[in-house]
């Protein structure tokens, strides 16, 4: 239960970090909050040759809320984002991520790159159609210093499999963008975990927009724990543009279950997870509609 040997790097700025990552390629790993990577090192599931600790890159700890949405830097920790409360759905999700002590170190961007199919924040990024900004070193033309190139990957393309993201060797996720909500929109996050603070057996976040007559005009859910990546389902049609009180909830639950592909394990069978996801979807959409109505 101790990490294997590795070469430790503590870059002082982004350029230095990208240079080390470029040199290390697939043998390098980024260390952010360490709340997932260090358990993996301790259990020897991960054994990188080079560990690039980004904890000294203070410039990456920003949390910027603008009219279009929220940009969180790679060093913004769960607890800091929870406290800054820049987006209602992020706060609802963060309260369900592990325990407060883990949230003091773990980062939002680290959680996205880690891409655990049971994690809350990837589902939030996916349901909101957010994106992750990846940076890598761009070798300078002859005589010029190296530069930085970035690319923005939308959530739909970012999560590529269980614990797999579009971040390639040599790339650093510098920030993530969570789009703001339209007017008359509410959000909610519901999940069931074996113990408080554990990864959920299944979970659903919902984003619901009402029209002027308080009928549901748009409803999307992001599901956790029922597939290799977050499962986003548009349930607008299943809600039949009705007010929440008369929505045919069986139809909503059915639409979500149709898209879910849960696996069974010691914690819950696939059938139980499938049952849960429908129940949680109904609860989350109801909660979000209530919030949207104000």
């Amino acid at each position: 239960m101790k990490p294997p040997p590795f070469e430790y790097h503590a870059p002082r700025d982004l350029g230095e970090a990208l240079e080390i990552l470029a040199g290390a390629g697939p043998r390098g790993k980024v260390l952010a909050g360490g709340q997932s990577l260090i358990p993996m090192l301790n259990m020897r599931i991960a054994a990188p040759d080079h560990l690039v600790d980004i904890n000294r890159l203070g410039a990456l700890s920003s949390i910027d809320a603008g009219p279009g949405g929220v940009t969180v830097g790679a060093l913004a920790r769960h607890a800091e984002v929870e406290r800054a409360a820049p987006h209602p759905l992020m706060v609802q999700a963060l309260r369900l991520v592990a325990h407060p002590v883990i949230r003091n170190r773990g980062t939002v961007v680290g959680s996205l790159v880690h891409a655990d199919p049971a994690a809350e924040l990837p589902a939030v990024l996916a349901v909101l159609d957010g994106s992750v900004r990846l940076a890598r070193r761009a070798p300078g033309a002859s005589g010029l210093p190296d530069g930085v190139v970035t690319r923005d990957v939308p959530a739909g393309a970012f999560f590529t499999g269980p614990m797999e993201s579009a971040a390639e060797p040599g790339e650093l996720a510098v920030s993530a963008f969570f789009p703001a909500l339209p007017p008359r929109t509410g959000t909610a996050f519901r999940e069931i975990a074996r113990r408080h603070g554990d990864y959920a057996l299944a979970g659903v976040c919902a984003v619901v927009t009402l029209d002027e007559d308080l009928h549901i005009s748009a409803a999307r859910v992001g599901c956790v724990g029922v597939g290799p990546v977050p499962v986003v389902v548009d349930v607008t049609e299943a809600c039949e543009r009705r007010p929440a009180a008369t929505v045919p909830w069986q139809r909503v639950a059915g639409a979500v279950r149709e898209r879910a592909e849960p696996d069974g394990d010691v914690h819950a069978s696939a059938a139980y997870r499938l049952h849960l996801i429908g129940v949680l979807a109904e609860q989350a959409v109801k909660d979000a509609a209530r919030e949207a109505a104000g």
């Binding site: 430790y8 360490g34 301790n42 600790d53 325990h99």
Partner: protein, 164 residues
């Protein structure tokens, strides 16, 4: 700080108010650095994957898992371990409340609870029952059944209020 393949690094940790210089390999966990390199065995190690909370220490005043942090990452930071909770006048209110309320039996989990609760009351001096449960939910105790730990947190809040 020098680097090299698993080479050692000279770091300075502010531990319980004293600057401690120590040489550690990159892979040394903060928990092991405190226990083995600095001889501060009050910080206990249970699971080494973040679940039990026994290894919780304060990093710049905030509770963190010392088993999920490399000692080199803590270079230049202030750490408070259970050994640093008592003041010049003796045990801290949280420590006394745990004793008074019988909030420990074997004591293995206690250093982690004491650090967690010290920070909890610093941030929220009069927590509700629900806030106490949320605050200590990341610390496991195999002996007490938690009831007396919850009582101790409320008692510690009282003692802090009386003494401030």
């Amino acid at each position: 700080m020098s680097t090299g393949t698993d080479s050692s690094h000279e770091i300075t940790l502010g531990v319980n108010g004293t600057a401690r210089r120590v040489r550690v390999p990159g892979r040394r966990l903060l928990s092991d650095c405190l226990r083995h390199d600095l001889g501060l065995t009050g910080t206990h190690v249970g699971c080494e994957h973040g679940v039990c909370g026994c290894c919780t220490v304060l990093l710049d005043g905030r509770p963190v898992r010392s088993c999920l942090m490399l000692a080199v990452t803590a270079d230049g930071h202030e750490i408070t371990t259970v050994e640093g909770l008592a003041g010049p006048d003796g045990m801290s209110p949280v420590q006394r409340a745990f004793g008074e309320s019988h909030a420990l039996q074997c004591g293995f989990c206690t250093p982690g609870f004491l650090c967690t609760v010290t920070a909890l009351l610093e941030e929220n001096p009069a927590p509700t029952d629900e806030e106490v449960l949320e605050g200590i939910s990341g610390n496991l105790c195999r002996c007490t059944g938690y009831q007396n730990i919850v009582k101790a947190v409320h008692r510690a809040a009282e003692l802090r209020a009386e003494e401030s």
